[in-house]
Amino acid sequence: MKIITTLILLINIVYAHPHTFIEVYPTITIKGNKTEKIDFIWKLDEMTSSMLIMEFDVNQNGKLDQNEQSFVYENYFSPLIDYNFYTDITVNDKIQKFPKPTNFNSFIENNRLCYSFSIEETINIKNTLLDFGDTDFFVAMILKKEFVSIKGAKGIVSDLDNDFYFGYRLEFK
């Protein structure tokens, strides 16, 4: 039985591992214990960026023009709704549907592809958690304390205590 258990446990290691690393920079504005707006900037790792920039920057002018940005939005950013934009907003232990992102912009900065977008949602920060991670384990979301900017409250960044994938948690104090 022990052998079979060991063998079955080995199946655990079939899950994929991340090949893309995204640094997340959230800027959160809070008024009266409620969020007014959350701005996100995602910075993709340089290697993945080079692959994507080659595809997105069709006229190769080193920046993403309006039509190129529309392509990114429709083909690469919007489909991430299926993954909740790698961000779970949990309020009172219930994961909320990720609000529709606004002000999407994609740009190149220091050879890295960046996405910026906002969510304009009023969320009571009491018992609210923001978890960043990819359940498919193909993307690693990186959140460091110094990446976070909160106006009107304090935040704590910790490792996501999850048995299945790599991630970080942001909670409010």
Binding site: I8, V14, H19, E46, M51
Partner: protein
């Protein structure tokens, strides 16, 4: 135990994130003055990156672990298989990268995802075949030890090829990055050194599985074929799991 495993995985990912960033900035800093020393440094880091990259979860190690846990083998076979898988994995990545870059030219990421899915399906199908073959052989040869030795050579190549045929996205990314910076030769060398690192990690997974087999199989004695059949069934399940998960995507 699970907590420890998760912490290990987390640490592996953090190291990969740091190495990935270090390699890209170092490749970008290459110039005529620092060409040799920086190239050597990149290759050394690529080896380390491969070593750590392969330490993360993956179907190759699952297959190797299941195979060696359920089949008696020598330690050198683990090295042979580890390196057969990693070299196939890296060469597949090189062919895919140069192929997509120079033949398809555009939509690298999309073509890469589509072709990777096809390769993964082929790999999953082959893993299913390997599982079925191992079950059949274990059942057929349960009393015949000589035939069993002949079987393992054939099945080892099948295991190595089925696991390695999927191109390694990690290798592809480094190679493409080098191509874009017109460092073609360095890209190929980085792919090779990265595969050497991956091979070492996969070999260690194989050695640990052989150790497990040695500890457990003598208890089964003449009923060792039960372990082989169980291994074959689990490999079959692994193949079906991979096949359906790729199809689902």
């Amino acid at each position: 135990m699970i907590e420890w495993y998760n912490q290990l995985l987390k640490q592996i990912i953090i190291y990969q994130y740091q190495l990935n960033s270090y390699i890209s900035s170092t490749i970008r800093s290459l110039n005529d003055d620092n060409m040799y020393e920086t190239s050597l440094l990149i290759l050394g880091v690529a080896f380390l990156y491969g070593l750590i990259h392969a330490a993360g979860p993956g179907h190759g190690k699952a297959l190797v672990a299941l195979y060696f846990t359920s089949n008696k083998s020598h330690y050198r076979k683990a090295f042979k298989m580890g390196y057969m898988i990693s070299i196939t994995h890296a060469f597949s990545a090189l062919i895919f990268t140069f192929g997509i870059f120079y033949i398809l030219k555009t939509m690298f990421r999309r073509n890469f995802n589509e072709l990777s899915n096809i390769a993964m399906q082929i790999s999953a199908f082959m893993i299913i075949c390997v599982g079925l073959y191992l079950i059949y052989e274990a059942y057929k040869n349960k009393y015949n030890k000589e035939l069993k030795i002949k079987k393992t050579n054939k099945s080892e190549y099948a295991v190595a090829f089925s696991a390695g045929v999927v191109p390694c996205p990690g290798v592809m990314t480094i190679v493409l990055f080098c191509i874009m910076l017109k460092q073609y030769f360095l890209g190929v060398l980085a792919a090779i050194t990265m595969s050497l690192g991956m091979g070492l990690t996969i070999s260690v997974a194989g050695i640990l599985s052989i150790l497990l087999n040695k500890k457990t199989s003598h208890k089964l004695d003449s009923k060792a074929y039960i372990l082989e059949i169980t291994g074959g069934i689990l490999i079959l399940i692994l193949g079906i799991f991979l096949f359906t998960s790729v199809g689902y995507k």
